[in-house]
């Protein structure tokens, strides 16, 4: 609890920004859904033949899981892409059904005598709708808006995966750091917001149900909503000086690298930067840079080769870099010089064992393997460039068949002596902290995963300073530095921005005479 409060107070400004984004997304999407859904609901009540298929379509959309819906929308023109737009489109689609349903149900439940009286008084259809039907259906419509808004509060959380912002950022950050405090830092305000929205709209709904005395309430509420939307739209549409948008995937090292790119551009090129960190995975980042939704992010050469360009595995780091650089250049993106470290698989042993036995290379492991036990992550056991190839390349045979173990536990299991060899991540912060040693892949079995900044080519043409700024980092982020920064964020709970700031300060001191 106190950790949670400490987190909030140290991330005060960010918390409010994310909360603001969250509320804005819910507000705008709900307002648009009302603007579209109420007319459809009216049509559905009047002309079921037209309205029923529309309501059915909305109800089919409702059954699509939100993450999948984001996935469908991403590649679409206009609504798609990374960021708030796609999130809004999805949120609006979700919010439609409750609004349509309750509008048409509310209209259909009006007493026939009242409608007959309205007709007999010579009301035109429009007057009847505006003065009698809609006011009487209002409690029902508000109930629909309430459901939509509450669904929206929850769904926006997931939209953080596609860079829409909002409190989901904390939840994703917490998940990638396996830190319950950070998850709660996002989840608690989301839950509170949902209850607030639910309770608030319930009051409005009740006010309406009380014989239309809610008229004033609704006018105030509607005015507030319109004002908020207008402000939001204005803020969104206000011409801003062009900002460089830096993206990253959704795990700690990527967030640190994103922050590193952002701060380097701010420091050395003096350009304003927007951070879209914690975007889903490789696919989303690649998509975003193709469409120009982000200007740059850091990719890994081996991932680019196999996952982005679908080429076969290639083990020579130089060849991989050349191929990837060429393929990026051919598709409107520029790959800059590698940062220095490679995020490849690392075969680890305890440092004490390595020292005692003079062990530093994988080719020397075969001699000790028969007396040792090994543990690997499930993925490593299954991958084509995983265990089976490794065993064949280095002639490894362990005391017993390798155990399957969760990646988060594997480092500790090694340090505590439960096993003697594990496959980890070359940049895992725990390697140094738990005094483990990484064996050199001297037969180049693992494909290279050199960290390389990838920039939208047009951005680089407009701002050559970016290239120069990032070039200052090339070759300067060693695996040890990266491990240290990962450790500082993951284990010591330091803020990525502060860690990167300190790193750049050090670098500057070293570089400048």
């Amino acid at each position: 609890m106190s950790a949670l409060l400490a987190f909030w107070s140290s991330h005060n400004a960010e918390l409010w920004t994310l909360l603001g984004q969250h509320v804005a997304l819910v507000l705008v999407s709900t307002a648009v859904a009302v603007a579209i859904g109420v007319p459809i609901g009216i049509v559905a009540a009047r002309r079921p033949r037209i309205g029923a298929p529309l309501a059915a379509a909305a109800s089919v959309i409702q059954t699509v899981p939100s993450l999948a819906l984001f996935g469908f929308l991403l590649p679409l023109p206009l609504v798609g892409g990374v960021g708030a737009r796609t999130a809004l489109a999805a949120l609006i689609l979700y919010a439609l059904l409750p609004v349509i349903r309750t509008t048409s149900a509310g209209l259909r439940s009006i007493d026939a005598a009242i409608l007959e009286a309205a007709d007999a008084m010579g009301m035109t259809p429009r007057q009847r709708l505006a003065q009698v039907e809609l006011p009487l259906a209002m409690p029902s419509i508000i109930a629909g808006i309430r459901v939509s808004a509450v669904i929206g509060v929850g769904t926006v959380t997931i939209a953080a995966a596609i860079g829409a912002g909002g409190l989901g950022e904390y939840i994703y950050r917490g998940l990638s750091m396996v830190d319950a405090t950070v998850i709660l830092a996002g989840a608690v305000p989301v839950a509170a917001l949902a209850m607030l929205v639910d309770g608030g709209l319930l009051l409005v709904e009740r006010a309406f149900a009380r014989r239309g005395r809610g008229r004033r309430v609704v006018r105030v509420a509607a005015a507030a909503l319109v004002l908020a939307c207008a402000t939001g739209a204005l803020v969104a549409a206000w011409p801003r000086p062009e900002r460089i948008i830096v993206g990253s995937k959704n795990f700690t090292e990527q967030v640190i690298l994103g922050e590193l790119m952002a701060q380097a551009i701010e420091r050395y090129a003096g350009l304003p930067v927007d951070r879209r960190l914690n975007l889903g995975g490789t696919f989303i980042c690649d998509r975003a840079i193709q469409t120009g939704d982000i200007d740059l992010y850091v990719e890994y050469s081996g991932t680019a080769l196999t996952a982005v360009f679908k080429q076969p595995v290639q083990r020579d780091p130089r060849i991989v870099l050349d191929q990837v650089r060429q393929m990026y250049a051919d598709t409107g993106r520029s790959m800059l010089a590698p940062l220095g470290f490679s995020n490849t698989f690392a075969i680890l042993v305890r440092a004490s064992d390595a020292r005692a036995r003079g062990l530093s290379r994988l080719s020397e492991l075969a001699a000790h393997a028969p007396r040792w036990r090994a543990a690997f992550g499930y993925e490593f056991l299954e991958r084509p460039d995983g265990y089976s190839g490794l065993a064949a390349t280095y002639g490894l045979r362990f005391l017993e068949p390798p155990r399957v173990m969760d990646l988060t536990l594997i480092y500790r299991a090694l340090a505590e002596g439960q096993v003697d060899v594990v496959a980890g991540d070359a940049t895992a912060g725990l390697i140094e902290a738990l005094q483990l040693t990484m064996l050199e892949d001297d037969r180049q079995y693992f494909p290279p995963y050199d960290a390389v900044p990838v920039v939208h080519a047009a951005t680089l043409l407009r701002h050559p300073d970016i290239g120069r700024a990032i070039a200052r980092l090339s070759g300067r982020v060693s695996a040890a530095e990266m491990r240290r920064m990962n450790y500082a964020v993951d284990a010591l709970r330091q803020d990525p921005a502060a860690v990167v700031d300190a790193f750049l300060d050090e670098l500057d001191r070293g570089v400048e005479p």
Partner: protein, 239 residues
């Protein structure tokens, strides 16, 4: 003046009204009596063009209803129904003033007219104007319904079983009120009911509808002597 000339009305294959002809003179109160489904409400709806005749013609002030603009026709025709149909989201005053508001009367005139009408139907404006329909008794609601129908001073008022759902004492009281008001405002009133006693209590002339056919149309004193097989049971019912 309202004239029905050989009017037929069908709902699907069923003939709801068959060859109905009658005239209602200005300032007259005509009551149509008949069982449920005899076609009483249909007669009313033909007058304000909620529906149109299949054959024959309905004329209001000498003009065929199909020539009338239906909105204009309905605004000069007051309408009171059994379920009253007060708008639950509006105060008594707004309910009463609605047609004048729809007809773009200035606010001041709407207000004074509302006060005048509430006083007329025995619901002092000071006490009732700001109440909500669900705060009223059945009889009070029915009075508001009458006030609403009279609001824009329509020459014609249609009443569809307006006192049907009330207890006998309230009904008798409202009958007295009705005659008092009618003496003052002298509207052309067409009222339908299934209660012969009510017809005799209110009508200048009574029409008897039997399965869509107008079997009798006369002054109460004449009708009391009728030996028509459809009228006799109705007369017996109020002895």
């Amino acid at each position: 003046m309202i004239e029905f000339e050989h009017v037929h009305f069908r709902r699907g294959l069923r003939e709801v009204l068959h060859d109905v002809t009658f005239t209602v003179h200005r300032g007259e109160t005509v009551v149509f009596v008949g069982r449920s489904g005899a076609g009483k409400s249909t007669v009313l709806k033909l007058i304000n063009r909620m529906i149109e005749p299949a054959e024959g013609s309905v004329r209001v002030d000498g003009r065929d209803t199909r020539v009338w603009d239906s909105t204009a026709l309905r605004r000069r025709t007051g309408y009171v129904i059994q379920e009253v149909g007060l708008f639950p989201h509006m105060t008594v005053a707004r309910n009463v003033g609605l047609v004048p508001v729809l007809s773009d009367w200035p606010a001041e005139r709407v207000h004074s007219r509302t006060v005048e009408l509430l006083d007329l139907v025995g619901l002092p404006a000071a006490e009732f104007a700001q109440r909500w329909p669900d705060e009223l008794s059945g009889g009070q609601r029915q009075r508001v319904g009458v006030a609403r129908a009279l609001a824009a001073d329509p020459p014609v008022v249609l009443m569809d079983e307006p006192f049907g759902s009330l207890d006998p004492i309230t009904r008798a009281e409202l009958h007295r009120e009705f005659r008092r008001i009618q003496d003052r405002v002298r509207k052309t009133v067409v009222l339908v009911t299934h209660d012969m006693r009510e017809a005799f209590a209110l009508a200048d002339r009574v029409g008897v509808l039997e399965a869509g056919i107008l079997v009798a149309y006369d002054e109460p004193s004449v009708l009391r002597q009728s030996a028509h097989p459809a009228v006799v049971p109705l007369l017996e019912s109020c002895q």
